[in-house]
Amino acid sequence: MTALDPAAEQVLQDVAVSDLDRARARAMLGLGKTGDQHTDSRSLREVITGSKAGWYTVIVLGLLGLVGTLQGYAFGVMAPEIARTLGITRSEIATLNAVKALATAALTIPLVMTVQRTPRRAFVTIVGAFVWAVFGLMTAFVTTLAGLAVVLIADGATSGTQTTMHMPLLADSYPPQGRVRILSMYAGMGAGGNIVAPLTIAALTTWAALTWRGVFLFTGLLTLVVAVLATRLRDPGFGHLDTEKVRAASVAGPVQHGPQLGFAEITRRLMMVPTIRRQLAGWMVLGAMAVPLGTFITFLLDERWGIGPGGRGILAATQAAVALGMLAKFGKVGERMLRDNPASVVQLASVFIAASTVATSLAALAPYFAVVVVLLTVGSAGIAMLAPSLGALQMGLVPAEMRPHAIALGGLSAGFGGLTGSIYLSGIDRRFGVAGAIVALAIPGLIAALIVRSCAKTLESDIDHMVTDLVEEARVQAAVANQAPLPLLALRGIDAKYGDLQVLFDIDFTVAEGEIVALLGTNGSGKSTMLKVISGLLLPSAGSVRLSGTDITYMSAERRVRLGITQIPGGHAVFGPLTVVDNLRAYAETLDLGARALAPEIDRCLELFPALGDRRNQLAATLSGGEQQMLALTKAAILRPRLLLIDELSLGLAPTIVGGLLQRVEDLRQSGTTIVLVEQSVNLALSVCERAYFLERGTVRFSGAGKDLLQRDDLLRAVFLHGADAASTRRDKGAP
């Protein structure tokens, strides 16, 4: 039996992340500061010219945002004319808009999948811009509703590159110390579209006397020009100015990377971050307010104040100008807030949302038009502040390669919220009119403010978790590259929850290659939960799980099986309605073995328990409890696991049978399998395990040699008392 190598223990100590490491990493990400690092006080111009990207990236992406605003505005203003030409109703136009929004949101997912492994966001942006331009041009030539639908869906799909790619590209092109200002500048150029758009559309439709077709021809050509300008965009790589820098600063040599996560794994990982979850909830509720707001404000201005498209354009331009001014002022302040206290940024963002909500609701009731203009301007300026403030925070909260995913999830949340909000408001509109609908928007608006504000509670710990993961990963990968001795399995600082109920607290757990380690504790102490965290059936809310140094914390259970981790679940490890052989075949499916290779594998495994071989065609449900556990072990053996997790092998079995099973477990270990054995029976476990961990209420109360655990009466009393209690219960029920 093997104990953990002292050299491996030393490696684990070396890769551990200290508070100072975290503070330094946070300072590099612009989310904190340290006394020994000077504050970056460069002007925006210096930040931009000092970066490799220069002015080009932010201006080109900003221009794409601007033409996006222009195209959106053109479609909104020209919709009635389009309807009259193509013979489609206003409802059909509204449906097309909804379909376009849905396409924009839904198609961000495949877009994100194309960039998650290779940093090709610039390429996707360029191609997206060209396709977008072409579809913009094609809008000018459609003659049917179906044609318009196809063009709009494609337009939505390609304009989705803006929402998902631009912000991560900007975040990786410029240092985090100037991030809020850069994002403010980018948002400002998008807002500038609201100034340019009304003027351009007015000029095109009056002076140039263009129809909607002419307008789309113009905007399509303009987009094409910007797309050509964008062809020099280059992807700077994932996080070389922040997260990669943190990794590089954590190790002496070059930064090594472990296996990459897939789309679903990244999404699950993001959803495990409480702040991200809250942000997404916030976007969803905010979407319910913000998405339909524009339509209802248009109706308010039109119906109550008689303001036509021209007047509304002037108002939109005024709002954009004020937003631009505020964005210009906010950048530097936002960066300082992020550096000094990131939580204050979300608090400020929640104030922006609340102020916008209140101002917009009051605008619906205001008796004077001047007051309406002021209130609507305040409302739109508040919303404009959210992109740079929450965007910069979101960019800092997740590793660079996961940023497009975070943004896509945000877009989907806002889109779903918008759809819900539209349904909610159309009902209110019918009953109380347009002013009533706008006032009703205060409800989702204020709820969104509260949700965003609640991010402040979890933000600090989530940033710490993220930087800890970054630094630890870099150090472990460096250790792997240096062939340092690492344990087969290492859990660090694991927290796990079922909903809001936390079950595991800061668990550290290591298992050396070839070892059998006992995991002991009373019922409800968290043993089975820990096995689930190792096998991937449950994701931890904090901490890391590593297999020979490879970070598998967020890997799917299926991938872990392929890496060699197999779990025998307690009490129900076989498929009752299947025969013994089919049980084995079902497990072997995971290995993609052909039928020819499978048969000898099954024979090999059945040799472990010859009694099972005699019953190979018998239904598993008809086997005795001991035979079912034998089958469970056989199923695990067919996968030839590197790490076998066994949950309650002896539960309800006679000692003689358990003895035989334990002998097979020992045989598996001899053949090279490392084993974690969860048991309630201490004596049984320690008969095969040299080392043991003892869990109590989700924390490790003991770890060390089994013989030392036997001296700990304070711990074992609980197990024995519980065991005696359980035994008496079984006796009372007539169990043997």
Binding site: P80, F123, F130, A209, D302, R430
Partner: protein, 170 residues
Amino acid sequence: MSDEAGRVTPRGILTVCLVTLLLLSGCTLSGLSFRKDGRLTIENLADRSEITIPYLLEFSFAGTLSPKGASAFGVLIDWTPPPPGKTLASLLDNDPACSDPLGCPEGYLERNRITVTTETSIMIDNVPVGTDRQESRGYHEITIVLVDAEGRRVGETSAFARFRVPGINE
């Protein structure tokens, strides 16, 4: 479509262009109006006006009507006009009264406020009552298009205005 550095390759651009051309084949390049022709104009009803009915609407046409092309005007109240090439009667395709192979009954289109005329004025003497005007916020819409002898819309030329009739549908 991109090389290792993520740069756009000529093959990538070519692929995008080919796909685009394929999609472009679904569009039309002829008969589309990119500039306002301004030939058809409503003369005595500004957009978003209030009127009382009956109201004599006057409009003008700077072109000439011909038997082979645009031979009449189609005047529609609270209808989105059909696309070019479709008849005005197609708006009532789903109306059970028009399910007869011979088409709608005599005068049915007019009763539904779809009028074909060669005159440049028309009397508005009724507007829909009891219909849901929520979508247009109480405004009625009048659209004038060009039609051929069979009532088919010709070209994309149109004139449009919205009006309210105080006391009705508000």
